[in-house]
Subunit: 190 residues, 4 copies
Amino acid sequence: MRVKDEAKQKALREATIKVVNQIGFASSSVAKIAKEAGISPATLYVYHKDKDELLCDIYTDIKIELARAMMTGFDHSQPVRDILKRMWLNGFRYLIKHRHYLSFIDQFANSPFFDVVDMSRIEPHFEPLIRVIQRGIEQKIIKDVHPELLKVFAVRPMMTLANQRQCGGFAFSEEHIEEAFRMAWDAIRL
Amino acid sequence: MRVKDEAKQKALREATIKVVNQIGFASSSVAKIAKEAGISPATLYVYHKDKDELLCDIYTDIKIELARAMMTGFDHSQPVRDILKRMWLNGFRYLIKHRHYLSFIDQFANSPFFDVVDMSRIEPHFEPLIRVIQRGIEQKIIKDVHPELLKVFAVRPMMTLANQRQCGGFAFSEEHIEEAFRMAWDAIRL
Amino acid sequence: MRVKDEAKQKALREATIKVVNQIGFASSSVAKIAKEAGISPATLYVYHKDKDELLCDIYTDIKIELARAMMTGFDHSQPVRDILKRMWLNGFRYLIKHRHYLSFIDQFANSPFFDVVDMSRIEPHFEPLIRVIQRGIEQKIIKDVHPELLKVFAVRPMMTLANQRQCGGFAFSEEHIEEAFRMAWDAIRL
Amino acid sequence: MRVKDEAKQKALREATIKVVNQIGFASSSVAKIAKEAGISPATLYVYHKDKDELLCDIYTDIKIELARAMMTGFDHSQPVRDILKRMWLNGFRYLIKHRHYLSFIDQFANSPFFDVVDMSRIEPHFEPLIRVIQRGIEQKIIKDVHPELLKVFAVRPMMTLANQRQCGGFAFSEEHIEEAFRMAWDAIRL
DNA sequence: GATGAATGAGTGTTCATTCAT
DNA sequence: CATGAATGAACACTCATTCAT
């Protein structure tokens, strides 16, 4: 028998993201995605149970990749702020580099599909971020507020800023990025 | 006849928001919306050129309503921070009260429809906000950074926090709201 | 607005029966039926909720028509045997005349759709038959056995004999038909 | 290897019957049948040229088995009626025991597949039945009518009565079965 | 102005079958 | 022999929109 094709798998993912990027979530049909991926619509169902699962799988993948990208280049002996800055910049650069992922991510996260994602597969990858924030709170460096608030003011802006649609006219110099992180930090620091 | 018209118009808008809320942007069809509004699909086309325009019109309406809700209860003699707080709290409360609008707004804003909205109809209503921020910058109270950055750290969080999907588990006490504004302010203030 | 077209309704029914007749239940698709009826597949859904309902509706229609055809040309003062013979011959002739209905009926009755038919719409039309049989039993003319047995030996053969597929090679003279009814009668009479 | 083959062959047959039984002829797909049989869809094509042939093969098998079941437990010196009764009861009991076969048989026999079955493989197994009937005619015990008529009134009811769908509510005591055969006999006897 | 009927084009999905392994 | 991957064609059904009334 033939063996499942890793390349096809990947092509499918990239095709999905590209199509969603170009024509939006609502208009992205299985047929268009398959065509872009260079496979038959039927083949899609060899790799994913249905359209919903395809989209959820891709979302999960990207989120995990983002987390992995964020969690590098620091060590736990560094000060909280330095670690967070490292993570923030890592994340921001990953998103800028993969801007086309963001359109997918944001459309997905605002769709009803989002409610159905198995978050337990994603959350562990963000553990280091959670821990360093907790450390910051313990050290009285970061405001002792509901974690949701910290996320909204520190992590979300990273995504919003990288978003083409919402901040498309905004070209980022190194200086801008520094400023942006400073604002995130000011928001959450004590 | 005029009265009947307006009632239908409004029913159509509320029906659209409700349907989008319940089944998402991608699954919301003209037929379902019309049914929910208690009118014929054909009638929809009396009021809006096509489906896209219906959605854009509603988005614009809500945004203007949000702006109007924000721009009340202060006068320009007050300090910048107080005015901004008033606006922020006004906006947040409006959004909490109309949470079902937010699901529509967010799905819309992340879709390609957004690119096609005539922003010049919305922007004037946010002028007071822009002006008070500029005053803050001139008075060296607010960071002199790209306006986009100020928006991302001060206004966006207001919407994100009110969003069911993204912050569903978060119940807001008055204290939380105060905290939230403080963080927004810390992010943008000098 | 346009008005629902009775002719289209009927064309749809005849087309369905014809298609099922020609290519069988399992291969009869909505597309083929619609094409045969000269309408768009989408139009089919204006007249019937879905394919299942279309088939059930047609089955019910035919059964009622058959019952109506059977219950004519006699009066209740006649002897039981004469009434039954009248009904039997009426039915048989109706079926021979509409042989193409039988293929549909038989395929339908052996499919899972059958389990879902609302029999209470059909049964009342067969009431006169039930009653005359009961009279026969009371008068000790007909065997006092389970009604199901009487049905199997008296009514079913009428349908089987008219069935193209099962008795295709059998050309019926008047004599044959008389013989057939005599056998049915012999089976059930005391 | 031979043994394994036969096991698969049999599993395939039983799976097909089961699936047809459960979801009907029209919905029974190769994939579902293969899954039920615990084999790959591709393997099915090792044993049968295509889906049609699979179904025809199974029909033929069952019909032959039914014939074999009927043609036991008597000898040709017995009276015609006794022999026929033996056959009828044998057949009826076989069908009751294998009720799940009947759903398949009946759906098949009313489908266009039926027209394509090679009857010459089945008919020889029913020869003894044909012969005893002919003897009955010669002995002036059985009506001298078209054989098709005899089949319709004597053999078909045996199948109809055993059919779940059509006589589901009818529970058979020994007495009922005796009655049923008596009716079949009354129909065909002189 | 308001409507339900009507539809071509499209939806997501499954089909029977083939093929490389 | 046996398989799971692969697919073009078909599936039932829904879409946004138009049109006669």
